[in-house]
Symmetry: C2
Subunit: 230 residues, 2 copies
DNA sequence: CGCATCTTTTCACTGACTGCAAACTTGTAT
DNA sequence: ATACAAGTTTGCAGTCAGTGAAAAGATGCG
């Protein structure tokens, strides 16, 4: 088949085969996301996704291991980037602060595209099963970060539970805060970062309880501690 | 069929129906865990589990929504019990301590049957997908505990992120510690509790890093610190 | 063109899971 | 005891997810 007259602007590094494959993959993913966003996860069959993407059902499984897999967007590169960012923090910074900083930064960057991010979070809220697909990846993510913390503290990631604990706790703060932030009518999107920082502050203070709001019964006014940096 | 001579010591609060249901449920769960621990998740079919539990395959699905569901370590009753236990802690105890206490207690009680429990933990390690199924349940569990913490602290679980954070962090400590404990050759099963307590202590101290062990670079092997713990 | 290689499709199959109606068990009022 | 209401288990028939194998169709290349 001769090349069509309109020369492709792209420097066609990849052969026709590779291009077609990518195209097919994208078509399937796009069809899956569109259909699921429309009707919900269990109201969409693989056959329908395949049909919408103009491929056979079997081809769907040539590209994705499961229906959920087609909806995932997990990036190995991001793990590496985040590890590098953690390594780049000042060496004398306390581990929790360092992890907090990179996780908050990551979130802030992601929130720049609220459309996609909101949709993704929403999807995880309404289909917690999707969490399962990512579980292995997140576990790996935590492990890698823990290794970096181990380097920074001079501990052994295998022997000492501390690095893993710091990372796990930090992740928990992020998850919990996002969930809480989603659940409340959030006045402004910007406050997520503030909430995160407040959460990390609270952990850094050993999770001592904050002063409750003024109760009608017996107000015992403990002084509010000034919320500084993490 | 007459009751056997050995009269049941239990004060039969529940009718025969309810008792049989629990019995069936337990039988299915036990069969599922045992078989999966033996052969791995994908080498066991629902039919086999049902057969091992002496019920029809259809009955399996009357009790559990999926194969994975039968392996979930938490049910509604347990959530209620744990919430009650948390409510029963001294009112002046710091929230983190209270949650730590009930979670450690729960774990210790479960570890009384190391066969099953070990298998269960192992399963989660080798089949991270199971987290997906648990995600919804655990989320609910966390939510209920957070509500109790909210009661205890006089905060609003909806408005203040603190209760959810405490619970989420505590859960993270437990998960992380179990995982770490599993990964290391554990000399004795009893040290899990100690590790958990150490982890919670560390959090209570704001996750400040512990002192690192002597560095291997210099050929001056300082005496090993008499670390009883970890 | 002709051949090796890769991709897609078809087919047949196992296993998860659901709805429905029949059969059976238990609680209870008579 | 008996009978009836209500709950539980089961078999059956069917849909959908997911896999292996081999035929059929593209593509790359000499």
């Amino acid at each position: 088949m001769g090349m069509s007259a309109g020369a492709v602007a792209e420097p066609t590094e990849l052969g026709l085969r590779e291009r077609k494959k990518r195209q097919t993959r994208d078509a399937i993913r796009e069809a899956a996301v569109r259909l699921v966003a429309d009707r919900g996860l269990e109201r969409v069959t693989v056959d329908e996704i395949a049909q919408a993407a103009n491929v056979s059902p079997r081809t769907f499984f040539n590209y994705f291991r499961s229906k959920e897999d087609a909806l995932a967007g997990i990036d190995k590169d991001e793990i590496e980037e985040t590890c590098a960012a953690l390594r780049a923090r000042p060496a004398d910074e306390p581990p929790l602060s360092a992890v907090a900083a990179i996780l908050v930064g990551r979130l802030e960057r992601k929130m720049l595209d609220p459309q996609i991010q909101q949709a993704r979070v929403q999807m995880h809220q309404s289909h917690p099963q999707l969490f399962g697909v990512h579980a292995a990846t997140w576990r790996n993510f935590e492990r890698r970060l823990a290794e970096v913390i181990a380097e920074r503290t001079g501990l052994s990631a295998d022997e000492d539970p501390y690095p893993a604990t710091v990372v796990a706790v930090a992740m928990a703060v992020v998850r919990s805060t996002i969930s809480h932030w989603q659940a409340t009518e959030n006045p402004s999107a910007a406050t997520l970062s503030e909430n995160l920082r407040a959460g990390f502050d609270s952990v850094a203070r050993g999770l001592t309880p904050p002063a409750p709001p003024p109760e009608p019964s017996g107000p015992s006014p403990a002084e509010r501690s000034p919320t500084g940096a993490v």
